[in-house]
């Protein structure tokens, strides 16, 4: 375990702590969704305000029929070090996902539906992108019950004002 410590620099101004983050989740793969959830939860753990904005395929993370079936992308994912023709075999994505979920369970990383609930309980605010909801012909009731709302990009920027925006 490495402990991060800022070396004191003479005359340096201590940066102001981050007080708010607004995180955009745009991808629907397991590796696309988890980093955003971990960062949002980590923000709340540090007492930082957290907004999470789900757009495009990222909405799968909070779509009732999909959120329990999020998979690792085994094609087009060079980081996996798996030849593309193998990654495309039937069942490969499910297999890799199951392995990764097993590993995450040992690290106390919750499954996605539980993680979303944890975020809400922690005081993070969850939003859906109006353009994406319209584009995919979805309705409010298709989504996790505790979403705060379906909002426009303009609303998102207003909400993010004064904080940091993270796109994943």
């Amino acid at each position: 375990m490495t402990t991060i410590q800022n070396a004191p620099v003479e005359g340096a101004i201590t940066p102001a702590p981050i007080e708010k983050v607004s995180i955009i989740v745009s991808k629907g793969s397991l590796e696309g969704i988890y980093p955003a959830l971990i960062m949002a939860n980590g923000a709340r753990m540090e007492g930082i305000e957290a907004n999470v904005f789900f757009t495009f395929f990222g909405m799968d993370a909070v779509t009732k029929s999909r959120m329990e079936h999020i998979k690792v992308a085994t094609v087009g994912n060079p980081g996996l070090h798996l030849p593309t023709f193998l990654g495309g075999l039937p069942g490969m994505s499910a297999l890799v996902t199951a392995q990764m979920e097993k590993k995450m369970a040992t690290l106390d990383i919750p499954p996605i539906p539980e993680f979303i609930q944890l975020l809400v309980d922690s005081g993070a605010r969850l939003f859906l992108c109006k353009a994406s909801v319209d584009m995919f012909d979805l309705k409010r009731e298709d989504f996790f019950d505790e979403m705060e709302g379906i909002i426009t990009v303009g609303d998102f920027y207003q909400m993010a004002a004064g904080g940091q925006i993270i796109f994943t």
Partner: protein
């Protein structure tokens, strides 16, 4: 590292105010640290969390995650954030005299 006096006891603290030696801790020290961190009165609900956290650390060597706290301490996550507003895992660890939790979850 610095020292500070809580409840009349001189304590070695790390840069963020966590006790260096958990064995120095007493409930009175916990109350004094809480008061210095914006929690003037520790209720029974606070103490459930604090005892659970300290016992977990003393028996496993690790502080519980926020998920573990919510599932096993008997106090749900929503209430944890009400009891310890600026980050329950960190603040509760500070008050119950154990090192800063290192997990990401």
């Amino acid at each position: 590292m610095s020292t500070n006096s809580y409840a009349g006891v001189d304590l070695a603290l790390d840069g963020e105010g966590f006790l260096q030696d958990p064995a120095q801790w007493t409930p009175q020290i916990g109350e004094a640290i809480a008061a210095a961190n914006g929690i003037p009165v520790l209720t029974d609900r606070h103490w459930i969390v604090l005892h659970f956290m300290r016992n977990t650390f003393l028996s496993t060597g690790d502080a519980p995650s926020i998920r573990g706290l919510g599932k096993e301490s008997g106090v749900p996550v929503k209430e944890l954030y009400q009891l310890f507003p600026k980050g329950p895992a960190k603040l509760a660890a500070k008050i119950c005299g154990i090192p800063k939790p290192h997990g990401c979850i």
